[in-house]
């Protein structure tokens, strides 16, 4: 199909993602719209009820998310009872609008892919709602927090359940808004608050704006892709666009363009290179927000988009390669940044960036990678949420501090958090039998499949990324829980800390999530359950036809584990055997660059922000001096002419007489001249 030396061999094109038409939904599935309506209604109620609902508002939020979780599981059970070929259901909601030939309906699509996300979002969401009841217990705006959380759940469900790009886009924008509202949640310091609080308030608002604006850049990509779909196919529904992409109704050039637009959208939402700078700053929001939105769900929406549009990428190998390359770059970038950050939440954010890089890499490998990308998304959602909630528990114990250099030795004070975070740590490392092993290893294996140089490059990058992940996650774990205690004392500005275990409302979600981190991967891998569950969407991939990795699979597995163990040992030697300095020491250029997010902010400012500000200033100046200047100049010119003419009104009778004489003479000459 293309002459690119890095393209997959022709045999792989025999497997394609499946775009089945949706059968009308019956039973519980027909009520799928309640999944969205109930949290949305709860959010509206909580916002409108105001302070009167402060006492019970959070329980309403929890109940709404519990309802969505239960209904999601009921629908899942119902769909599991159907034969594999019938597992694509549709719920048509209403006709939204028509414009010329375009007819836009809103509906829901319940297939294995969207149901996976529904279960992830609602179950993890419910656990985080429960956790937030305790985490935000001392916050007077707790009710508003739950309103926003419910709104986020509703928007995310619209995103994954929508049956057309435009329904997806509604959810896309909704989660962007929810992210903005929640990142900048603590922005209400007024002029009476202490200076430090006002500063933090402004910083939070700036972080929220940064996230929203960078998401917006991605949104342009999604809009452009939708416009291209309408131009080429006349519709944005998955049922129409994806089959058209498969049977050749859209040219390769257009498919490549749509693919690149969708990649741009995914980069913005999932914090992939080059739009990744907002994720670190987004940690300014409360930790449950970081757990839910910026680890498990919203940032994975980009991966959902790519996998859902699989048919488009299969017809555009260049765009598909770009997805894999972007994933590989972000994978390494996130890992390097994570190695150098001292802020616990920023390390986890960099880790999220890196793990989503794995997912994008998987999605960019074609049908062989889709299922593993989604599998990793699922397992990652659980263990990353758990790691974040554990970090929140640590913050709660240490007076909201996040600097790991002042932690250490917490395992004696916080046993449950230590054990659950340890489980999350082992899961993200990919140590068998924890869940991360089952998903990440398969992506690395799939990266090694192909012809030419491509599998070597991508596979090696994925392998090295695993080693780096092991290093920085172990660094995080050891710096917080092991080694000597480096806690702040009364002499420090943060004051004395009294670490203690958190209450059961916070530790219970941690325990439940750790059960998933332990078992989810293994359970879903038995007999390839998860991969075959996704087949109605991703297509059947036979290892006989899709090629073998260039290195044997067992060698890859052993190599990965070896690199992981090396990473853990190095981190142990650096952060447990040696004392961790409490003050940041200057280090070599790479570490300094990593501490500054590889200078992405500087690049963004130089490339986009300053030219943009320059453009705005130029536009303002041209409006003031050119446009207004022309109008004012016209007025002033007319006034000057008038003043000139006013000089004839001298007030002297004799000059008036002179003018009269002059005029008469001229008139006389004119009359005489016309007569002769």
């Amino acid at each position: 199909m293309t002459a690119s030396p890095l393209a997959l061999s022709a045999g792989l094109l025999a497997t394609q993602s499946v775009v089945g038409a949706a059968a009308p939904a019956t039973g519980a599935a027909a009520l799928a719209w309640l999944l969205i309506a109930v949290p949305a209604l709860s959010a509206a109620l909580l916002l409108l009820a105001g302070r009167a609902a402060d006492a019970w508002g959070h329980w309403l939020g929890v109940a709404a998310s519990a309802f969505s979780a239960c209904l999601g599981l009921v629908i899942l059970v119902q769909v599991l009872g159907l034969p594999a070929a019938d597992r694509v259901l549709g719920v048509d909601l209403w006709r939204w609008f028509g414009a010329g030939d375009l007819d836009v309906h809103l509906g829901l699509r319940l297939d294995p892919l969207s149901l996976t996300f529904v279960v992830l979002v609602t179950c993890v969401g419910f656990l985080i709602h429960v956790y937030s009841v305790a985490y935000m217990a001392h916050d007077r705006d707790r009710r508003r927090f739950f309103a926003y959380l419910n709104f986020f759940i509703a928007a995310m469900l619209i995103l994954v359940l929508g049956d057309s790009y435009i329904a997806l886009f509604i959810g896309w924008e909704g989660v962007g808004l929810a992210s903005y509202l929640l990142i900048g949640f603590w922005n209400t310091a007024d002029a009476d608050a202490p200076q430090a609080e006002q500063f933090t308030s402004r910083e939070n608002a700036a972080a929220a704006k940064k996230a929203f604006i960078m998401n917006r850049i991605g949104d342009v990509g999604l809009l452009a892709a939708m416009m291209a779909c309408i131009a080429q196919v006349g519709s944005v529904a998955f049922d129409t666009v994806l089959p058209a992409a498969q049977n050749g109704a859209i040219s390769t050039g257009w498919l490549t363009a749509i693919g690149f637009f969708l990649l741009l959208a995914a980069c913005g939402k999932s914090a992939q290179f080059p739009l990744q700078a907002w994720l670190g700053d987004a940690m300014a929001g409360p930790t449950p927000v970081s757990a839910l939105i910026h680890a498990a769900t919203m940032v994975t929406a980009g991966v959902y988009l790519i996998v859902r549009s699989g048919a488009i990428f299969e017809g555009a190998p260049d765009a598909q390669l770009a997805v894999a390359v972007v994933g590989a770059i972000t994978l390494v970038l996130g890992a390097i940044i994570g190695c150098a950050k001292d802020d616990m939440k920023k390390v986890l954010a960099a880790s999220t960036m890196s793990q989503i890089g794995y997912m994008m890499l998987g999605a960019g490998l074609g049908p062989i990678g889709y299922a593993f990308a989604i599998f990793h998304l699922l397992t990652h959602g659980f263990f990353k949420a758990q790691l974040f909630l554990g970090a929140g528990s640590v913050m709660h114990a240490m007076g909201d501090q996040v600097n790991m250099r002042r932690f250490g030795g917490l395992r004696s004070a916080m046993k449950i958090t230590w054990i659950t975070m340890g489980i999350g740590w082992l899961a993200i490392l990919g140590i068998p039998p924890f869940s991360g092993f089952w998903s990440k290893d398969r992506i690395i294996e799939a990266a090694f499949v192909g012809d030419g140089a491509r599998p070597w490059i991508l596979g090696t990058i994925a392998l090295l990324g695993a080693g780096l992940t092991a290093f920085y996650m172990s660094r995080l774990f050891f710096m917080i829980f092991h080694g000597k205690a480096r806690w702040t004392t009364a002499k420090d500005i943060e004051g004395e800390v009294h670490p203690h275990e958190s209450g059961w409302l916070m530790t219970l979600p941690l325990v439940i999530l750790s059960i998933f981190s332990v078992g989810l991967g293994g359970v879903l891998s038995v007999g390839n359950t998860f991969v075959s569950w996704l087949e109605p969407v991703t297509g059947h991939v036979d290892h006989a036809t899709q090629g073998e990795p260039v290195i044997p699979a067992t060698a890859i597995m052993i190599g990965t584990l070896a690199l992981v163990i090396v990473g853990v040992v190095v981190a142990w030697a650096m952060y447990v055997r040696r004392d961790v300095p409490t003050v940041v020491q200057r280090s070599n250029a790479l570490v300094e660059a990593a501490r500054h997010d590889m200078y992405q902010d500087t690049v963004n400012e130089a490339v986009a922000m300053r030219p943009g500000q320059g453009l705005v200033l130029a536009a303002g100046a041209s409006d003031r001096y050119v446009v207004d200047g022309a109008v004012k100049g016209l007025a002033q010119g007319t006034a000057a002419l008038g003043r000139l003419a006013a000089r004839t009104e001298s007030g002297y009778v004799r000059s008036y007489a002179g003018y009269m004489l002059g005029g008469t003479v001229l008139a006389l000459i004119a009359v005489l001249a016309s007569r002769f």
Partner: protein, 101 residues
């Protein structure tokens, strides 16, 4: 030997010019009124001359009207000059410039 008719017209022209120069160049209001009278009389002379040239009486009738109007105008003009003099104690025409601009 009779005087050619054109001489009268030329005389009227000269008189008119003198009257106009008086209006333009003199500062005293009463002298200016005299200039205006001179202009009017020059025109009357021209009118009568043309009536004699054409052999019609129309010009002379027109001159009658002009004389009457001139007389009325002098009355009004002099009374204005007198009332201005009463308030400003000056007959200089340059002093009545309040309508400037």
């Amino acid at each position: 030997m009779s005087v050619p008719v054109t001489a009268y017209v030329v005389l009227a022209g000269v008189l008119f010019t003198l009257g106009a120069l008086t209006v333009l160049l003199r500062r005293n209001a009463i002298i200016e009124l005299m200039g205006v009278e001179l202009m009017l009389n020059a025109v009357n002379l021209a009118l009568v001359t043309f009536s004699r040239m054409h052999g019609e009486v129309t010009g002379q009738v027109f001159a009658f009207f002009a004389i009457v109007v001139a007389a009325a105008e002098v009355v009004v003009g002099l009374s204005i000059v007198v009332s201005v003099f009463r308030t400003r104690r000056s007959t200089s025409v340059d002093d009545v410039n309040l309508l400037k601009n």
